[in-house]
């Protein structure tokens, strides 16, 4: 469902060229739970941005659901993001002036669903994350873990083909992190594909597949590999 072949992405300033992705190859199948780890500056976030169509790439091919995204215009990319991808961000990215109902409603309105369908989807999504009774609350009235659950509900409400999670537990204590991860595992068990970028090896261990990114390139690692060790080795190099 997601296939990247020789994807390149370079950031340029007047004096420096940074090769964030170099011949990046990755294939993710329907139902996968993939953890992407790697040291700081390895290209994880760039991969996430490219995979989530938040950023364009310079070269290579990226196929989403069998369709190449290269050459798509802004409107087409926005539509793809809206319909096929659900985002979960490290700092939740809830809109502070909207209550939970309206927050989950944001992508659904862009999708053009009618109000009845939106209501049903919002209620169901908030039910899934256990916050159906707090629809009128604002993000500031919730704990970090609850806010991330709302963000997951927002990502799920549009029934996306896959979820892209950027350090989803990075701003949470271990207790809350575990709860969020349980929820993601549950969602994955129900058939939703998840790609999770994390620097935390213990979280990565809970995914079915582990991808290690180093210098903008991918190394698939076997389940059970000590990722902490890999990270340390990379740091020493």
């Amino acid at each position: 469902m997601l296939k990247m072949t020789s994807v390149r992405k370079t950031f340029r300033t007047d004096t420096i060229e940074t090769h964030a992705l170099r011949d990046f190859d990755l294939q993710v199948e329907e139902g996968d739970f993939v953890a992407v780890t790697g040291p700081s500056g390895s290209g994880k976030t760039t991969f996430l941005n490219v995979a989530g169509l938040l950023e364009t790439f310079d070269d290579g091919d990226y196929q989403l659901d069998g369709k190449s995204v290269q050459g798509m215009n802004d409107r087409q990319l926005a539509q793809l993001r809206n319909e096929k991808i659900g985002f979960i961000f490290q700092s939740f990215n809830l809109l502070p002036d909207l209550n939970l109902f309206d927050n989950v409603d944001v992508p659904l309105r862009y999708r053009g669903f009618n109000s009845a369908e939106r209501k049903q989807r919002i209620e169901q999504a908030l039910e899934t994350v256990g916050l159906a009774n707090r629809m009128g609350h604002y993000p500031a009235q919730l704990s970090g873990g609850q806010q991330q659950r709302v963000a997951i509900a927002r990502a799920l409400a549009g029934s996306p083909r896959f979820l892209l999670a950027d350090e989803p537990t990075g701003n949470l204590d271990s207790n809350m992190a575990s709860g969020v991860l349980d929820l993601l595992s549950e969602i994955n068990a129900q058939g939703t594909t998840i790609i999770m970028v994390t620097h935390d090896p213990s979280l990565a261990q809970r995914a079915q597949r582990n991808i290690f990114v180093r210098d903008g390139q991918v190394t698939e690692v076997q389940t059970g590999t000590n990722i902490q060790e890999l990270l340390q080795q990379t740091a020493q190099v």
Binding site: L54, F87, L98, D102, P107, D166
Partner: protein, 404 residues
């Protein structure tokens, strides 16, 4: 437009900034509406016809300074000679003219010793007065040559016949037609009767801001005062030449008088409305500056908001908002704020107008000003927000994943 509900609810969570901007828009609307009302009011006053053939008329004043100067001989010979000049249509002696800002007024009544007089402005003219002024008789007759008398500065007597403008006559006899007004008696100085000999269509009093500016009475008398004025009407295109010729003609007499203020009527119109024009200019500057300041206020406020919400905008883009969705969001937000400001503005515009009407006797504001001002301010608001909204729309969706 399906974003309007959440946008409205979000605005209610951030009332202060939105309210301040709405109040600025309300204040702008209040001032703009009333300023434009005043501008239009002055424009309509300036557009009023004086009743004269202004393009082809001029007047001049003369003052006798020698004891030998004989005013009566002067006026009779002067007018005969002026009328003979090639290009002169007619000429008369007159005490004042419309738009001059100085003249006589008296009260007329339909019954002697009545308290309720109709104010009228007086022009003393001879039998050439109507033709020189360029006014039309609606009913009755012009003065005959024989009924024109001379008036000294201390005279208290009034002639038997007068001409009135239709407006003045209507004030006195609201139920009569112009033809029926002929022969009616009116009283001046409480109990001196005069007969209406003719009704003229229209002529203005000298004072442009006078509330009875259309009430004029023509009196068949020539003044034997130290300072007098001639009004000359010329054929089209001859005025400027004749202004010089008439002045030279009178100067050539060397009979002990000064000639001054040779003035074309359209020049006099400009002088009469100079204050109006200045006021209009000041009001236009105020309207323009205020609109500009409001527009800049909106630009500043929206730019600030865009900078503050970069990550939110990135998040919305990540969630599927197109550039158009982002632009629409800011434009709708502005529309809601402007709309609230305009609703307050309608109320405050009417309130200010009521105060202006009570305090300065201005006419009531026309209802049409309100929707026009609303549309203009909505357009200004939308244009002002366009730049920052476009900037917001062009923000990268990748901002959603940045930590700051």
């Amino acid at each position: 437009m399906n974003q309007i509900g959440p946008i409205f609810r979000a605005l209610l969570r951030n009332k202060v900034g939105a309210l301040l901007l709405a109040l600025q828009i309300a204040l702008t609307m209040t001032i703009i509406v009333n300023a434009i009302h005043m501008i239009e009011n002055r424009s309509s006053m300036m557009a009023r016809e004086s009743g004269m053939d202004e393009a082809n008329q001029f007047h001049l004043m003369y003052v006798g300074y020698k004891d030998s100067f004989n005013e009566r001989v002067a006026v009779e010979t002067d007018l005969l000679e002026i009328r003979k000049l090639n290009g002169v249509v007619d000429a008369t002696q007159i005490n004042s003219t419309p738009l001059s800002g100085g003249g006589w007024s008296m009260g007329l009544t339909t019954t002697p010793n009545s308290q309720d007089g109709t104010p009228v402005s007086l022009y003393f003219v001879d039998d050439h007065g109507l033709n020189t002024l360029g006014v039309e008789l609606v009913a009755g007759e012009n003065f005959s040559q024989t009924e024109v008398t001379y008036r000294l500065s201390n005279d208290k007597q009034w002639p038997q016949n007068i001409l009135l403008t239709e407006a003045a006559a209507k004030n006195l006899f609201p139920d009569l037609t112009p033809a029926e007004m002929i022969g009616q008696t009116v009283f001046i100085r409480d109990d001196e009767p005069m007969t209406i000999k003719g009704i003229i269509d229209h002529l203005q009093a000298p004072w442009v801001q006078w509330s009875n500016v259309n009430n004029v009475m023509l009196v068949p008398q020539r003044g034997l005062w130290n300072a007098n004025r001639y009004l000359v009407r010329t054929a089209p295109g001859e005025r400027d030449r004749l202004m010089r010729e008439v002045e030279e003609l009178l100067l050539a007499k060397r009979d002990g008088r000064l000639i001054r203020n040779v003035t074309a009527m359209d020049e006099q119109r400009d002088d009469a409305y100079q204050d109006f024009f200045a006021l209009q200019t000041v009001l236009w500057v105020i309207v323009t500056v205020l609109t500009l300041v409001t527009a800049l206020g909106i630009v500043g406020m929206v730019s600030f908001t865009v900078n503050q919400r970069r990550k939110q905008i990135g998040t919305r883009r990540a969630l599927g908002a197109t550039k158009g969705d982002i632009m629409r969001q800011f434009m709708l937000e502005n529309l809601l704020i402007t709309g609230s400001g305009l609703i307050i503005g309608v109320a405050s515009s009417i309130a200010l107008n009521i105060w202006l009407v009570d305090t300065f006797s201005l006419p009531r504001i026309g209802w049409h000003y309100l929707p026009i001002a609303m549309v203009v301010l909505v357009i200004v608001g939308q244009l002002a927000v366009l730049g920052p909204a476009r900037k917001a729309a062009n923000l990268s969706p990748a901002l959603a994943t940045r930590t700051t």
